[in-house]
């Protein structure tokens, strides 16, 4: 059966925030998912340079890594972000679409460990690196 990412993202899985940001599904594997965030003037964090703010990148990486957890578990399960760290390696180039690839590299009874990168065309020259954890909501008290 598994987790149907195409259906999930097409049926409003990004929520209002993701939809308003313009988040798009790209592709996925067994334990990873890739999303895209097209450039938009409303996302600018630095008017002088036109570079987008980091908030939209965090939102995309939170969603990409969430999707990777559900892909690895093989089903959608309610979870919450415990923490998410973003390292800003360089500013994203204005006008370019930012691609976010999230991967779930370890899953326990209650916690999923994720990592990912965001890039603007070349995955070998990322704009950001992320690492985070999610807690499964229905894992029981002793989880």
């Amino acid at each position: 059966m598994g987790f149907d990412i195409e259906r999930f993202t097409a049926m409003g899985g990004f929520g209002g925030h993701g939809r308003h940001l313009g988040m798009q599904y790209r592709t996925h594997g067994d334990d990873w998912a890739e999303l895209a965030l097209p450039y938009g003037a409303r996302l600018i964090g630095d008017p002088a340079s036109g570079v987008i703010a980091s908030g939209p990148i965090v939102a995309m990486m939170d969603m990409a890594t969430s999707l990777s957890v559900w892909l690895k578990r093989g089903a959608f399960e309610a979870h919450v972000t415990v923490d998410l760290r973003v390292d800003y390696l360089r500013p994203a180039v204005p006008e370019r679409t930012v691609i976010g690839r999230g991967e779930c590299y370890r899953i326990t009874h209650s916690i999923a460990f994720v990592r990912g990168i965001a890039h603007d065309g070349d995955p070998d020259d990322p704009v950001a690196h992320v690492a985070g954890t999610f807690m499964r909501l229905n894992a029981g008290v002793e989880a």
């Binding site: 209002g16 925030h17 964090g45 002088a48 760290r85 973003v86």
Partner: protein, 137 residues
């Protein structure tokens, strides 16, 4: 993200992303406090705030605090190096407020902490530690 250069006193100008989030500044004892209304544009699960919008608000609050402090010292640009967000409680369909606290402002690096809350400041929904590179003119 470079701060708006017009950040003097209450004249601080927020970048387009902060405007898009619906953020406004309220000055509380000369500290810029950010207020973000709830709406579909910041919603994740129905009726709940999306984590990315919370992180975005915390970032804006951190930058506002840092920009305000730097504006008192001359001109400087800032670039984010790392941002770590801890999600403490569920964000609900209420306005969210956030403030940044400068832990240390050095010549090259600023360490900032930002806190977001809804109805009760003593029950924060998220905190972030934000480290910035300072580029002094």
């Amino acid at each position: 993200m470079t701060p708006p250069r017009t950040a003097i006193g209450t004249q601080m100008v927020l970048p387009p992303y902060a405007e898009w989030l619906g953020c406004s500044i309220e000055w509380v004892e000369e500290v810029p406090e950010l207020v973000m209304p709830f709406g579909d544009h910041v919603m994740g699960w129905p009726g709940l705030l999306q984590g990315g919008a919370i992180a975005g608000l915390l970032e804006v609050a951190g930058i506002a605090a840092l920009t305000h402090r730097l504006s008192l010292e001359g001109t400087a640009r800032i670039k984010p190096v790392t941002v770590t967000t801890d999600y403490l409680r569920t964000g609900r369909d209420h306005p969210t407020r956030a403030v940044g606290t400068i832990l240390r402002l050095g010549q090259r690096i600023a360490n900032v902490e930002a806190t977001a809350w809804q109805e009760d400041r003593d029950r924060p929904i998220a905190t972030a530690r934000l480290n910035y590179r300072i580029l002094r003119d």
